[in-house]
């Protein structure tokens, strides 16, 4: 049984809180400690970025995080080591990787290495459903669950294709544009409904989630979870209390009692 499945099952209809960090930002040791803070704050699922030099889907905060990690000399193998160590400390928390196509294709056996490190899922930001089939085949062979993105403007046939390919959850973008802390998310209830009709994996909203009211808005649109990225990365970079921040957002999901 996959860790995502077990997590959603355990939450029994309550929403999952996902927290994102860029691996290796600002260095490996700090990064490992920050990952633990996410769990301490109550994150139900962890999303981790593997840094890429040219992240076109990311706003300034996550771009800068990737640049800091790369400037610190962080390599893809280091990222897998961080995941493996995290997995040792937290055997049950689902871990999803977010990265870009060129990082994946540059490494022979990327999916296998990700699976061996204990990662559960992979989202490749610049691989849309149109190009996803060969990547998904590789993921499934390695035992990694594919995550694809759905947006309000995704046409029906594509949405059905996404529903078929995605396994762990469906990453719903709350608005057009790139990742970032500026709000303006629409949390499209119609998208959630369309995904449900297509029998897609649980819809989870990302992009622009930085405050409890965004979490509540996403959930009232029918989401089964939310992912907060830039706001956490930004806070960590400024030396803030990440666990406390995660706890405050997690509280808005109404599933505080869930075990860690």
């Amino acid at each position: 049984m996959s860790r995502y499945f077990t997590m959603f099952d355990r939450l029994d209809g309550a929403a999952a809180f996902g927290a994102f960090l860029m691996l290796g930002d600002p260095d490996l040791k700090t990064s490992a400690r920050l990952l633990d803070s996410l769990v301490e704050g109550g994150a139900d699922m962890i999303e981790v970025g593997i840094p890429f030099s040219d992240p076109v889907a990311d706003g300034p905060v996550i771009q800068a995080a990737a640049q800091r990690a790369l400037a610190a000399g962080v390599r893809v193998g280091d990222c897998f080591d961080l995941i493996a160590a995290f997995r040792g400390r937290h055997p049950d928390v689902p871990v999803g990787i977010l990265t870009y196509a060129n990082i994946v294709v540059a490494r022979t056996g990327f999916m296998r290495d990700a699976a061996e490190a204990g990662a559960d899922s992979l989202l490749i930001a610049d691989v849309p459903a149109l190009e996803a089939d060969p990547f998904v085949r590789d993921m499934e062979q390695a035992g990694i669950e594919p995550v694809l993105i759905a947006a309000a403007n995704t046409p029906e046939p594509t949405l059905r294709h996404i529903a078929t390919l995605s396994k762990a959850y469906t990453y719903c973008v709350s608005r057009a544009g790139i990742t970032g802390t500026h709000a303006g998310g629409q949390f499209d209830a119609a998208l959630v409904e369309r995904l449900r009709a297509a029998d897609a994996p649980p819809p989870v909203f990302g992009f622009g989630i930085s405050a409890p009211e965004h979490v509540r808005a996403a959930l009232s649109a029918g989401a089964r979870g939310v992912i907060c990225g830039s706001a956490i990365v930004d806070l960590a970079q400024r030396g803030g209390d990440v666990a406390r921040f995660v706890r405050s957002l997690k509280a808005a999901t109404g599933n505080e009692s869930a075990p860690q």
């Binding site: 890429f52 030099s53 040219d54 992240p55 076109v56 889907a57 990311d58 706003g59 771009q63 640049q67 790369l70 390599r75 893809v76 870009y100 196509a101 060129n102 990082i103 994946v104 294709v105 540059a106 490494r107 930001a125 610049d126 691989v127 849309p128 459903a129 149109l130 190009e131 694809l148 993105i149 759905a150 947006a151 403007n153 995704t154 046409p155 594509t158 996404i162 973008v173 608005r175 057009a176 544009g177 790139i178």
Partner: protein, 383 residues
């Protein structure tokens, strides 16, 4: 998508899901326009009466060998870029967009986009690496004179690739109202195909002109390759012919070091800016910073059709250093009274080498742009 968007195993459409509908809309608009005589009439009218087509084919009088220059430097705007911005500008109108965004390296494509923005009435925003803004002040001012907003990009190496990243980010949020007027035959489908079709006129005219002047096809056609739009435009109509096609990449300070932009010669297969193609990168897929004396060739990927032409063996790709390009720039000025762009000087430099080795060959060179923008830099480099 209606077309595969593939050139052999290269190409494709590697963009965030949110952008796929915008690219599908663009593909439909492009294919419909290709079937629409009214679109062709309007575009051809602009190319002739506004931009100055056909451009001449000039046989060099004093340089050695038989070198014929296809004079895109004489096109309005000063480079071949104008051909395709007119095409994309009309498509943007057709799609009802009110705003254009573009990336630019040397500033030539930014200037071309500013031209079409002014002519056809678009709000125009041009992303330009901060490094390039500093080295191409005159082009920045040209764009501003024509009403474009120039946004300096501070991320990454602050050159062309970073400007493309920023334009893609803008487009992810603005595609409802905005057309991304990509400047070269690279990027996600349908750009490589669409830009080739709008640039095909270069080789189409040159073919007819050289047959008329010389009574036969050229032996060789040579063009510089950054993203590859002027080269694919020159090559396209010669692909079925027994004509050698040579693309010249910027070898910068030498191919043995890291300071060059020779993607096809030194790159490896990868995925960047929406396409599977050759990419200059490290062993982990991080994109390399590139170097060329000509900002317009300073790019770590290349149009996917060139990757295919290389792999299939139909075209060959060679390098030319900054110093060789500069020498060719000077030779053309002194011998023929033509100041060409540093980009175009790369193609000419290889033509001069070839002319020495095979004096009887008829060599067609794509002179993609004029050199006004480079005069200031030339003065410093040749001093």
């Amino acid at each position: 998508m209606r077309l595969s968007g593939r050139f052999g195993r290269f190409g494709g459409c590697y963009v965030p899901e949110i952008l796929v509908p915008a690219l599908e809309q663009l593909e439909v608009a492009f294919l419909d326009a290709q079937q629409d005589p009214a679109f062709a009439a309007e575009l051809n009218g602009l190319l002739a009466d506004y931009a100055g087509r056909p451009t001449p084919l000039t046989r060099c009088r004093n340089l050695p060998g038989n070198i014929y220059l296809k004079r895109e430097d004489l096109l309005h705007g000063g480079a071949h870029k104008t051909n395709q911005v007119l095409g994309q500008g009309l498509l943007a109108k057709r799609m009802g967009k009110a705003r254009l965004i573009a990336e630019t390296g040397a500033g030539q494509h930014g200037v071309a986009t500013a031209i079409v923005g002014a002519l056809l009435g678009f709000e125009t925003v041009v992303y330009m690496g901060a490094e390039d803004v500093a080295r191409q002040q005159l082009n920045v001012f040209r764009m501003q004179l024509m009403g474009a907003i120039v946004v300096p990009v501070e991320s990454g190496g602050r050159t062309l690739k970073d400007a493309i990243n920023e334009a893609l980010r803008d487009w992810s949020a603005s595609f409802e109202t905005t057309h991304y007027l990509l400047g070269t035959a690279a990027g996600p489908h349908p750009f490589p195909t669409m830009v080739r079709e709008f640039q095909r006129v270069i080789g189409g005219e040159a073919r007819a002109q050289i047959v008329e002047q010389l009574g036969r096809l050229p032996d060789v056609a040579i063009a510089c390759v950054g993203g590859g739009s002027n080269a694919i435009g020159l090559f396209a109509d010669f692909i079925p012919d027994p004509v050698r096609l040579i693309g010249v990449e910027p070898a910068g300070k030498g191919l043995s070091g890291a300071e060059h932009g020779a993607t096809l010669l030194r790159g490896t297969r990868g995925i960047l800016h929406g396409a599977e193609t050759y990419v200059l990168q490290d062993d982990e897929g991080q994109i390399a910073d590139t170097w060329s004396v000509s900002a317009g060739l300073d790019y770590p990927a290349v149009g996917p059709e060139h990757a295919h032409l290389k792999e299939s063996g139909r075209a060959e790709y060679v390098g030319c250093t900054d110093a060789e390009a500069l020498a060719a720039f000077k030779a053309l000025a002194e011998s023929e009274g033509i100041l060409c762009a540093f980009e175009s000087a790369h193609a000419l430099a290889h033509a001069l080498k070839l002319a020495e080795a095979e004096p009887d060959s008829a060599i067609l060179v794509g002179l993609s742009g004029r050199g006004d923008k480079d005069v200031d830099q030339a003065r410093r480099l040749l001093a």
